[in-house]
């Protein structure tokens, strides 16, 4: 590569032939390079193998999922039943002794999916005799909670499984049933149902529906307001149905509403608007408003707007998550979230944005007025996703059924007034 440049006698230089092309002598690849190459090759090969395995696992999972989806697509009624009906009628359709009628052996169910669909669309409020027992029935209307498709599916599922009746109800047949039910109040127990079903066992007579007169003063507060106290309806809607973060009031326990108003007034619960309104209300006006909204039964306008995981919301509502020390929502707020007066408000049909905002407020320490501080731990234990999930789930539930019967009212309000 280099030459001596001094003038000492030159050794004989063997010049290559002038046609000689320079070349590099062959030398073996150094061992370290070989090792590197082998290691890299091994690595690449194994990674490929690994990925191939992962791909096949993913493929298997996908196949399972598709199979599951196909099964549930054929059996959607089962899923709807589990989510919306099983809290009362139980997964086995046997109901709850003395409280919720069984579907197994029910003459109503045996009359086919059209009857079941009509009951679903209007709900029941009145005594009903099922399988030899009389129940003081209070079933919500699912008209606002279930689509025509879901009504058709669940009605078909129930009759197929427990009514011994074959044949499915097509979705198209639900639409006219829904139109016929629109604007009508719930079925007044078995007696009214007997008018559309022939051959029922003897049904108890429905009690007269006693609709209390709304006092003029309360009506004015709700719809017109008074000075600083602006009309409730201006935010909560004409029917107390609420919207977004303004809560639905219809169906909340009267004592609960009164307590919230007092808490707004005293600053235990923070809302600028409500603090002003509550400050202008006399105690008897609060009581009147509570009674008014507790007796209101209006269809739900709430939907799942938060895009959360509904399956998780359902699990939290029905079973809770005991690893987080979070009991089922329904274990305190009643099956299907109907509430339990006076402390536990109805959650069913509440707007998702409102429910989530309140859970967040408890978790963040801005709302502190829960009895025994029960909601603080629960809200904190739930992740933000969980809070949205459960809020979305509650929004999809049917609203609280009517309770015009004095006994049911007593059940709900039995220790009304003894609580803080």
């Amino acid at each position: 590569m280099f030459r001596k440049t001094t003038g000492t006698p030159r050794p004989e230089i063997q010049r290559p032939d002038e046609n000689f092309e320079p070349y590099e002598e062959h030398s073996g690849i150094p061992m370290p390079v070989l090792w590197i190459a082998i290691a890299l090759g091994l690595w690449g090969g194994l990674v490929l193998l690994d990925t191939r395995e992962a791909t096949s696992v993913a493929q298997e999972e996908r196949v399972d999922q598709v199979v599951d989806e196909q099964v549930t697509a054929h059996d959607d009624g089962r899923a709807v039943f589990a989510a919306k009906c099983a809290t009362c009628h139980q997964p086995d359709g046997l109901g709850v002794r003395g409280a919720v009628p069984p579907l197994v052996g029910s003459a109503f169910v045996a009359h086919g999916p059209q009857i079941v669909a009509q009951i679903l669309l209007r709900g029941i409020d009145g005594p009903i005799a099922v399988a030899g027992q009389t129940y003081d029935g209070h079933m919500p209307s699912f008209a606002s909670a279930l689509s025509d498709m879901e009504i058709a599916q669940v009605a078909s599922f129930v009759t197929r499984k427990w009514g011994g009746a074959e044949g499915a109800l097509p979705e198209a047949e639900v639409t006219p049933l829904r139109e016929a039910a629109a604007g009508r109040q719930s079925w007044q127990g078995g007696a009214e149902l007997a008018t559309i079903i022939a051959g029922l066992p003897a049904q108890p007579a429905a009690g007269s529906r006693t609709v209390g007169q709304v006092p003029q003063a309360v009506s004015e507060l709700v719809f017109a307001g008074r000075g600083e106290v602006w009309a409730c309806a201006s935010c909560h809607g004409d029917l107390g149905q609420g919207a977004e973060t303004t809560p639905r009031l219809a169906g909340l326990p009267a004592a609960y509403i009164v307590k919230q108003l007092q808490d707004f007034r005293q600053g235990h619960r923070i809302s600028e608007s409500m603090a002003i309104v509550a400050a202008g209300l006399a105690p008897e006006e609060m009581a009147g408003l509570g009674a008014y909204y507790a007796a209101l039964r209006v269809p739900s306008t709430a939907t799942a707007t938060l895009g959360a995981d509904l399956a998780r919301g359902e699990a939290l509502a029905l079973q809770g998550d005991w690893s987080l020390k979070v009991p089922a929502c329904f274990s305190c707020h009643g099956p299907s979230g109907f509430g339990l007066a006076p402390v536990f408000p109805a959650l069913a049909a509440q707007h998702a944005a409102y429910t989530a905002s309140q859970l967040n407020a408890w978790a963040g320490g801005q709302r502190k007025n829960a009895t025994l501080d029960l909601m603080t731990h629960i809200s904190t234990a739930l992740s933000p996703q969980d809070r949205r999930a459960v809020a979305d789930y509650m929004a999809l539930l049917p609203p609280v059924p009517a309770r015009t019967d004095p006994q049911a009212a007593r059940n709900m309000e039995q220790d009304n007034g003894t609580q803080p």
């Binding site: 390079v33 009362c88 709850v96 409280a99 003081d136």
Partner: protein, 346 residues
Amino acid sequence: MAPNPEDRAPVEPAKPRTGHRARRVIFTLGGGLALAAAGTLAFDSALLPGWITGSEQTASLEADAESPFFQPPPEALIPDDDFGAAVRRGRAIFTNTSTNAGQHVGNGLSCSNCHLDAGREPNSAPMWAAWVAYPKYRSKNKQINTMEDRVMGCFSYSMNAQDSVSGGPPPHGDDIYRDLESYFYWMASGAPTNTAMAGGGFGKIDKPALPYDPARGEAVFTANCAVCHGADGLGRKDLNARYLYPPLWGADSYNWGAGMHQINNAAAFIKHNMPYSKPGTLSDQDAWDVAAYVNSHERPKDPRQTGTLEEARLKYHDGDQSYYGVELDGVMIGTGTPRPAAPVGN
């Protein structure tokens, strides 16, 4: 010939060194790459010890944070076969006892009222811990008890079966036992047998500093329990007249033979499980006091009582932490509530 320094100087010029350096750089980079690849492989296939990856610590922390107790399988894993059907029936009996075993239930309770989370919750007498403990000797009836015997006892005392339609617990061999035991057995999947499991029973609770006192307990009850169980302790029903919160005393609650009537048992249950979502918030003293308050109320009579109250007290309740057969404020406790005119249920 002496080497000419000037001749020698170019022997080791910079250029060959540069060549070596390039080689070293290649080898170093390549070796590093190979090491990284090997490391990645080892990490991916979890061959590295946990102290290097740090995963060991995280895993143990997670396990601690999750639960130190046995984890029963999730309910989604109940198999879809005949056995799974029995497990589901058993679960239904467990959570809705008055409907699914209604012939033998004489009150307003379900198994899951005391065995929370459908019998899964540690320190709430979880059924996965109970399953692996039987058969065993019980001093209650001085016999070796199978699980069926034990569950029969639950029906007789906690479910007050003598006021039920059938007038007693399910007979031996009844399907109710098969289904319940299927549920317990499935819940104990993977659990060691014949071992006391952590979280079994209602957990231990220390003796209170002061002797338990129902008068102090009443204040604890009013402040912490009445909101759910009702100021009268008789439970709360929803608008369909279904018990949402179980009655703690009175004709619709457990009878004087149930384990929960013993103040120590009730105190442990209350301490570890009540109020819902806030277990452990009551002091030991409060838990004992409120347990004494709850169990100072009259409830259905002990079905084992054939002779006098005092005879039954000596035979079955001597040494019990119980007000059975004890006079409290001038009232003899343990005589039982009036039997319902018509048996509960049908």
